[in-house]
Symmetry: C2
Subunit: 328 residues, 2 copies
């Protein structure tokens, strides 16, 4: 593999000069610059980023750490981060934590070990607790999807309480009084959506059906099991809200198996707008999160912070959208 010394020798200059040319630094005569560039071309030379990183402590790789790659929400975010990173000349390492603090820690260690440029993180509750107040992570970091109360960390979120309130209100205004809710466990997201749900009930003077409100791990299988339980209740719900698309998929399967018709027997709404939401019949009414925007904003915040570490921190709250279809 050709190295900077080879170029220097071929061009009859020192490695310092070649380095200056490659980095577009001043103090190189135009003709020298041109000659070096030609030789670089001819010899098909590319700088070794490992050596460059070691010496000058700069990396062109960022990490994206999410709790579940199989969640369409994170897939879309990941796509956005990837697009933005590419535009700025960065690459992305994608890590999956499965909501497992051990795996999360391993991923965070990776940052340090590989001297990456920064990280976009959807943290576990455990990590979030560490980041409280003015804890300083010593590394550019943007937290997404979960609210963090820390002055040193950038944050991109949506207003979950308000969104859940809107979605629940929609359900109520279409005639549902007895409503079941399945919320993701172990994240601020789930708790905030639950809170908005409760507020909406209160707004409409409805007593919450506590036996129909469940927290569970946010997986399709658990959504299925929980909804099966709700449907076996002596006084089953007339409407169900799920706090993400995986839970919704499980819920739909349970409803289908129970031979109930949507929306006549039971109404259904959910957070997230996966591709299939409009493929099913009746199509699903949802709160759509601006997933692509979330990813892109996070990536841009991170890259700006990498380029200027003294930049002031900010929290970006993005708007959600209620998409009314026929499930309600």
């Amino acid at each position: 593999m050709v190295k900077i010394k080879d170029i220097a020798d071929a061009a009859g200059v020192s490695t310092a000069t070649v380095s200056r040319v490659l980095s577009n630094k001043p103090h190189v005569r135009p003709e020298v610059k041109k000659r070096v560039m030609q030789i670089v071309q001819k010899m098909n030379y590319r700088r070794n980023r490992v050596a460059q990183n070691l010496r000058s402590n700069t990396s062109k790789i960022i990490a994206l750490i999410v709790s579940d790659i199989e969640n369409p929400f994170f897939q879309r975010v990941s796509r956005a981060v990837d697009d933005a990173a590419f535009e700025y000349g960065y690459s992305v390492i994608l890590c999956n934590t499965d909501e497992n603090p051990g795996k999360e820690e391993a991923s965070l260690n990776l940052l340090r070990d590989e001297n990456l440029a920064g990280v976009i993180l959807s943290p576990t509750q455990q990590a979030l607790d560490n980041f409280r107040e003015d804890f300083d992570f010593q590394m550019p970091m943007v937290i997404i999807d979960r609210y963090v109360n820390n002055l040193n960390i950038d944050n991109v979120i949506i207003d979950n309480v308000q969104a859940a309130r809107t979605l629940t209100a929609h359900l109520i205004e279409h005639g549902c009084q007895r409503i079941g809710g399945i919320f993701g466990m172990g994240s601020t997201t789930g708790r905030e959506r639950h809170e908005g749900f409760m507020q909406a009930l209160k707004d409409h003077n409805i007593t919450p059906a506590t036996d129909l409100i469940k927290f569970t791990s946010p997986k399709a299988e658990d959504g299925y099991n929980m909804v099966m339980k709700l449907l076996q209740n002596p006084d089953p719900p007339r409407g169900i809200l799920t706090s993400n698309s995986l839970l919704a998929a499980g819920a739909l399967l349970a409803i289908r198996e129970s031979k109930l018709a949507i929306p006549d027997d039971i109404a259904m709404v959910s957070f997230d707008n996966p591709t299939w939401a409009k493929l099913i019949d009746p199509a699903l009414t949802v709160i759509e999160q601006p997933t692509y925007e979330i990813g892109r904003t996070a990536a841009e915040l991170l890259i700006k912070r990498i380029q200027d570490p003294t930049r002031s921190n900010r929290q970006v709250v993005l708007k959600t959208k209620l998409i009314v279809r026929q499930s309600c």
Copy 2:
């Protein structure tokens, strides 16, 4: 950041000894080893992988280059690669090419620049042409999803011809004679599936309806447009086969909008088994690819090759499965 020299000083040994301890090399007294380990613990030392990579030319990062992260097929593959990599202590950089040779080249350059350990690639046609015969990539590489005729490269694929033949036969045996097919353009995958499709027609002595057979870029939108065209044909198809799940999603939307009933007015089958295939009504009959297996096999082949570069190359052909549901 604490470095190996700090540990060496604190333990009263040389950096060479510390390095030997950390790498579990022989020739160090147990008590010295123990002392060094304790100090490593106490000082919270972690080896700098960048320096390690530079000196010993080893990386713990592999790249996964796919043509479309938003395709559920690649998402599942990506999950599997991630899982396997994690088990072996590797991390994964995920790159998206959008079937764009320029982006693909940028991703392949990344390998060189960052001195990554190896790559799992779903290549564009262009790249595939480069890899013909005995071209030597100089870097551990596994090609997935597309067949490569190169003795130096490992390959994980499915038998697309056979699978398409089975799927088409299923459609025919359920009474369809006039069948439309939408195939992905620009990949061996699409061509092979088309070939299997044609074989099945021949097996059943059916003359192919050439005006109902289309090649297009494998996106939902194009699937929608193509099927809309087919349905406007004076003699429209009685059954449709799509060669991936994105095309299927588009096709379903087109059929729905045309107020046609599945399977009574028109039957429908597809390659790939996305989560929503069983959520829609009627549920979709599909060929399921062993996506997780593909990813895991590729990752394991790659890591074995990294660990032993002289290992003989192999091609793994995985089995597909016909999942019969109600769309046909």
